[in-house]
């Protein structure tokens, strides 16, 4: 995916947080994670910054799940990108 496409996809995903039901930007950030690993964490943080309210949930799930998926994405990318030819 080109840099421009990544940027536009990330911007669309973050914009969708304001407009679309939360499931759609969540899935979009999950799909984008292979190319932009920080997308899930950014999306989750934005969700919690906008909508998290005290007592609505004990844990800011957006941030927690976004961080988990981001870490997983980095691990996967590291495995995919590694290559040593002896």
């Amino acid at each position: 995916m080109s840099v421009t496409a990544r940027g536009l996809s990330l911007a669309a995903t973050l914009l969708a947080v304001f407009v679309l039901p939360w499931v759609i930007p969540a899935l979009a950030s999950l799909a984008l994670a292979l190319w932009v690993p920080l997308a899930p964490l950014s999306t989750g943080l934005l969700f919690d910054a906008l909508y998290y309210a005290p007592h609505a949930a004990r844990i800011p799930w957006g941030t927690v799940l976004g961080l988990s998926v981001t870490i997983l994405a980095y691990l996967v990318r590291g495995r995919l990108a590694a290559g040593i030819i002896a």
């Binding site: 840099v3 990544r6 940027g7 990330l10 973050l14 304001f18 407009v19 679309l20 039901p21 939360w22 499931v23 969540a26 190319w35 932009v36 690993p37 920080l38 997308a39 964490l41 950014s42 943080l45 934005l46 969700f47 919690d48 910054a49 906008l50 909508y51 998290y52 309210a53 005290p54 007592h55 609505a56 949930a57 004990r58 799930w61 957006g62 980095y74 691990l75 990318r77 590291g78 990108a81 590694a82 290559g83 040593i84 030819i85 002896a86």
Partner: protein, 279 residues
């Protein structure tokens, strides 16, 4: 033989994924910091985007509605019109009855109704992943932390959990972890209902309580405040308990305006907070 060595690519520092994601993370990180340090400024800056999103989603919904089955919509409209007329008649009957009883028994010494604040809802589920609302109204409008929030028809739906000068966040009673002491039906059978998210309540009740589908569930407050009706009862036939699934009286996905007032201690004292932080 010459050996070719290729260094392992560092996934964190690969240039292709570094700049966009990190830049977005930095910007959103700053927004998060702003939310905690300057909550009023944060909401004032972001709510225009949320309002625009709300308008877009409503327009989208209206556009999709145009593709609906016209016959089904017409039938539904007629049914709702008849239902509305029947409820209006019932309402007038009850008002007349109250007037007659008041004349017979004398006026009550009930205190005057508490002043109320009406506020539009800016963000709601399912755009919000939590069972919470963001309303356009804050301390400037007389809204304070802990005020009770009511939907259409005086249905209690939540409590103000945070407030800035121009906006407030409302935690709905259907949020996971929220519990509410309630009672069911005309027999006022006590029941503790728990929010399970997505605008729904459940409760565990003894089978011997004899609950039936369609019974109204009330919360304490000035009079009986209906919060929902029993939608279904599930559980193994041999089990002494049943799981009561309660349909809320107000659909949180379509709330446009809410009324906020201090309903007294009876409603807030019925809230059994799951967290250690008191409302």
């Amino acid at each position: 033989m010459k050996k070719t060595y290729l260094a392992k690519r560092n996934a964190l520092l690969s240039p292709s994924g570094f700049s966009g994601g990190v830049l977005a993370l930095i910007i959103i990180g700053l927004l998060v910091v702003c939310r905690f340090l300057l909550p009023g400024l944060f909401l004032t800056a972001t709510m225009p985007f949320v309002r625009a999103g709300d308008s877009v989603s409503r327009s989208f919904g209206d556009a999709l509605g145009g593709f609906g089955n016209r016959v089904a919509l017409t039938v539904s409209n007629e049914h709702l019109t008849q239902q509305n007329e029947a409820l209006a008649v019932e309402n007038r009957t009850l008002a007349d009855k109250i007037a007659s009883l008041t004349a017979l028994l004398g006026a009550t010494s009930a205190p005057a109704a508490q002043p109320a604040v009406v506020a539009p809802v800016v963000a709601r589920p399912p755009i919000s992943p939590y069972d919470s609302l963001v309303i356009s109204g804050g301390t400037d409008a007389g809204i304070s932390d802990g005020m009770e929030v009511f939907g259409t028809g005086g249905v209690p739906i939540g409590v103000v959990s945070s407030v800035t000068n121009a906006f407030a966040r409302v935690t709905l009673f259907t949020a996971p972890g929220e519990s509410l002491a309630a009672w069911v039906g005309t027999a006022h059978v006590p029941l503790t209902i728990s929010g399970v998210g997505a605008g729904a309540f459940t409760a565990e009740a003894p089978r011997s309580a004899g609950f039936t589908e369609g019974e109204t569930v009330y919360a304490p407050g000035p009079g009986a405040l209906p919060v929902g009706t029993i939608g279904s009862l599930t559980g193994a036939a041999a089990s002494p308990t049943v799981t009561v699934h309660i349909v809320p009286a107000t659909n949180p996905f379509s709330i446009a305006y809410v009324v906020l007032r201090d309903a007294g201690t009876s409603l807030t004292s019925a809230l059994t907070c799951a967290s250690s932080t008191a409302l």
